[in-house]
């Protein structure tokens, strides 16, 4: 009577608790796949939606305004639509619709609009073609006359320097500005032109895509509630957007993985050697020295932060990854402790027998103890990987060039530059930083739990 009740109460409490614990992470992922408009909507929505309205025979993604609680199919609600003015232009692969910015009155015979394009110099064929942005230079009276079919351009070389060249016109390609990114790219040119009214079209664009397209405009209309339909729309391209807005995401990732590799390798080798010295060899004073090792665990990093910075500055390592991995070659107290605890459980007789056979300590270490200690070494490797992946203060202090940043530091840098508004990108970026850790956890769950338990042995 009493037991099942306790059991149920415990189950419910645990359920509530774990839901509370997991909600922040779910909220992060949920925000990561929302369009920016829906990140701040109240009440919060867990799944982003797209609303479609069939307008002039065409399904248009719109943004519905407030819907009254007792709305019927005929209730009129206001909806926001996004559209572009477009004109037909010749692109590299045939005609394309190019968005323009309305400058005049769309009812005029000749409508004044702004249109954006840039030139590329294309060398090579197909997917291997090399494209460099170029600017057509103004004809110069002093320059030698050009052969017909060629043009004088300024080229940005891959190293960033500027060169003047004469190139065949056939190798020049005009790219029309379709997105805000392209419109603002270097060497893109915005021109004010007159377009005959007949050539100008109004095209609706999906509401949630409007920020990713150039020259979008908005209007509000009334729609019957019954004509609107909603569906779940996960914006997975937020991840791509976050990667682009972080600037050097792939560099961050490479740096982090490089560091993880170096620190895991360094820690495993150095800590197992040191732990061997503290557990498998009896030497006078060993356990007293080990107390010192344990004591170093209590040194807070902020205490030694400044002198350590001085040491690395004198070595000329500031601004490089070295301060973040070289110290791991010299063992860390916590991992030595973990490995020592494990080494102690390996029967002494194994080493003794090998010693009698004339084995050197290094051979006993490498061929007897290490193979048996694989579980503990996995734990240490895993913990070190996490520590490096998660480290923030170290990279913050020692790294100076943005291209050397790790993911953790890059994420904070991105937040301090763009945070506060771009919540969908910030959460997408956070998800990208968190996901590998969670994945690793599920792959190595047992190692984690056993490892943590191991670290607490005997306090």
């Amino acid at each position: 009577m009493k037991r099942p009740f306790h059991q149920l109460a415990r189950f419910l409490l645990l359920t509530a608790g774990s839901v509370l614990f997991i909600v922040p992470l779910l909220w992060m992922v949920s925000t990561a796949v929302k369009p920016l408009d829906q990140t701040m909507s109240l009440p919060p929505r867990w799944l982003p939606t797209a609303t479609t309205w069939v307008l002039e025979g065409q399904a248009v993604e719109v943004n519905p305004g407030a819907v009254p609680a007792e709305a019927g199919p005929d209730t009129l609600v206001s909806v926001n639509l996004a559209y572009q003015w477009v004109v037909q232009r010749e692109g590299p692969n045939g005609p394309v619709r190019v968005p323009v910015k309305m400058r005049g009155d769309p009812q005029d015979e000749q409508v004044t609009v702004e249109i954006n394009h840039r030139w590329q110099w294309v060398r090579g064929e197909g997917s291997r073609a090399q494209r460099s942005p170029v600017r057509l230079t103004v004809p110069d009276a002093n320059a030698p006359p050009l052969a017909p079919g060629t043009a004088r351009v300024a080229v940005i070389a891959p190293d960033g320097s500027l060169r003047r060249r004469v190139v065949p016109e056939a190798q020049l390609e005009r790219v029309w500005g379709q997105t805000p990114d392209q419109v603002n790219r270097s060497y893109s040119v915005t021109q004010t032109v007159q377009v005959p009214r007949g050539e100008l079209q109004r095209a609706y664009v999906p509401w949630n895509d409007r920020r990713d397209l150039a020259y979008t405009e908005m209007e509000t209309r009334s729609a019957a509630y019954g004509q609107l339909s909603s569906r779940v729309d996960l914006r997975t391209d937020n991840f791509g957007g976050a990667v682009r807005s972080m600037g050097h995401f792939w560099r961050y990732l490479t740096n982090t993985l490089t560091l993880c590799l170096l620190t895991v390798g360094g820690t495993v080798v150095s800590c197992s050697l040191v732990a061997y010295g503290f557990s498998r060899i009896d030497w006078p004073g060993r356990d007293k020295v080990f107390l010192v090792v344990l004591g170093t665990m209590m040194i807070p990093f902020p205490v030694i932060m400044v002198p350590l910075y001085g040491v690395f500055r004198d070595l000329g390592w500031i601004g490089s990854l070295k301060p973040l991995w070289v110290p791991t070659l010299f063992a860390s107290a916590f991992n030595v402790f973990l490995l020592r605890q494990f080494f102690m459980t390996i029967p002494r007789e194994l080493s003794e027998a090998a010693r009698i056979d004339g084995c050197s300590e290094l051979r006993i270490f490498a061929q007897i103890v290490l193979p048996l200690a694989k579980p503990a070494i996995t734990v240490v490797a895993l913990f070190q990987f996490l520590a490096t992946w998660n480290d923030f203060l170290g990279p913050l202090i020692y790294l100076t060039d943005q291209k050397d940043f790790t993911l953790a530091l890059g994420l904070q840098f991105f937040q301090s530059e763009a945070g506060g508004t771009q919540w969908h990108h910030l959460m997408a970026a956070s998800t990208l930083v968190v996901a590998p850790v969670i994945l690793l956890f599920f792959l190595a769950q047992r190692v984690f739990i056993e490892g943590v338990s191991m670290s607490g042995l005997k306090g």
Binding site: P44, I281, W283, P300, V303, I304, A331, V433, G459
Partner: protein
Amino acid sequence: MSSQTAPAPAPTPNSTRRSPMTAAARRRLAMGLLFISPWILGFAVFGAYPIVMAVYYSFCDYDVLRDAVWVGPLNYTDMWADDLFWKALWNTAVYAAFSVPLGLMLALVVAVMLNRPIAGRSFFRTFFYIPSIVPLVAVAMVWMWVFNGETGLLNYGLSLVGIEGPQWMADEAWTKPTLILSSVWQIGGAMVLFLAGLQDVPRSLYESAEIDGASPLRQFWNITVPMVSPVLYFNLIMGIIGSVQEFVKPFVMMPGGGENRSALLFAVYIYQNAFEYNNMGYACAMAVVLFLIVLTLTWLATKAMGRHVYYAGE
């Protein structure tokens, strides 16, 4: 172990082989030192030397560009008069005083609930553990979003039960509670340690308590708590050391210390002095104070708990 060697008579200064140590023992000493030499080197360069230098620099005028100049206890007298130092100390004390006991209690309670067989046990354990491995910078991002005063999930949840949530990160009265609440999320490590400790508690103790008619609460206080006291002690020390050097979350969530510096924690203030205000000597003086605080708290915790810690094996 080391005590295997015979009690040492006073060494004779002119003898090349010290009498208590046999040749084998000397060889073992050499071997042992060889194996731990990476640590000795690392400790000298990255541990002992920085600590000594931190103490030395704390008596110097020192920054990145210039050499250290001895100024005596000036940094310490400056510190005494620095309102921000006291504020950072107070903020950190409040943070630690709430987050450590709260975290320990919650971790223990969850562990006790998970210790007995229950459906979905490993799921629960996973859910409670995962937050503790998430990178702290990402944790800070998530909490900035959840604690957001206008559109945050937390204030929406509170509004459902009729509470108007505060401006967590912008209101000076709520910045510290924000940090404390968010720290409670990461109890996974402590919880797993408690779980491991609880596994070692003999079931027979509870059974006989049951027969004697002890209530679950009594069993918790009189059996569980004493039996896991070594883990409790370990978690307490680690919690104290961790919380007084808390850096990432306050630094990211409330840059510069937040509204009226109400969330300026000690480690953040050290960082600011060292790397933002170019005041490394002063930063070192505060680092020394931090170290003394850690030592004192550890000593106090050991003194307070030492008598009550129960080691089953000894």
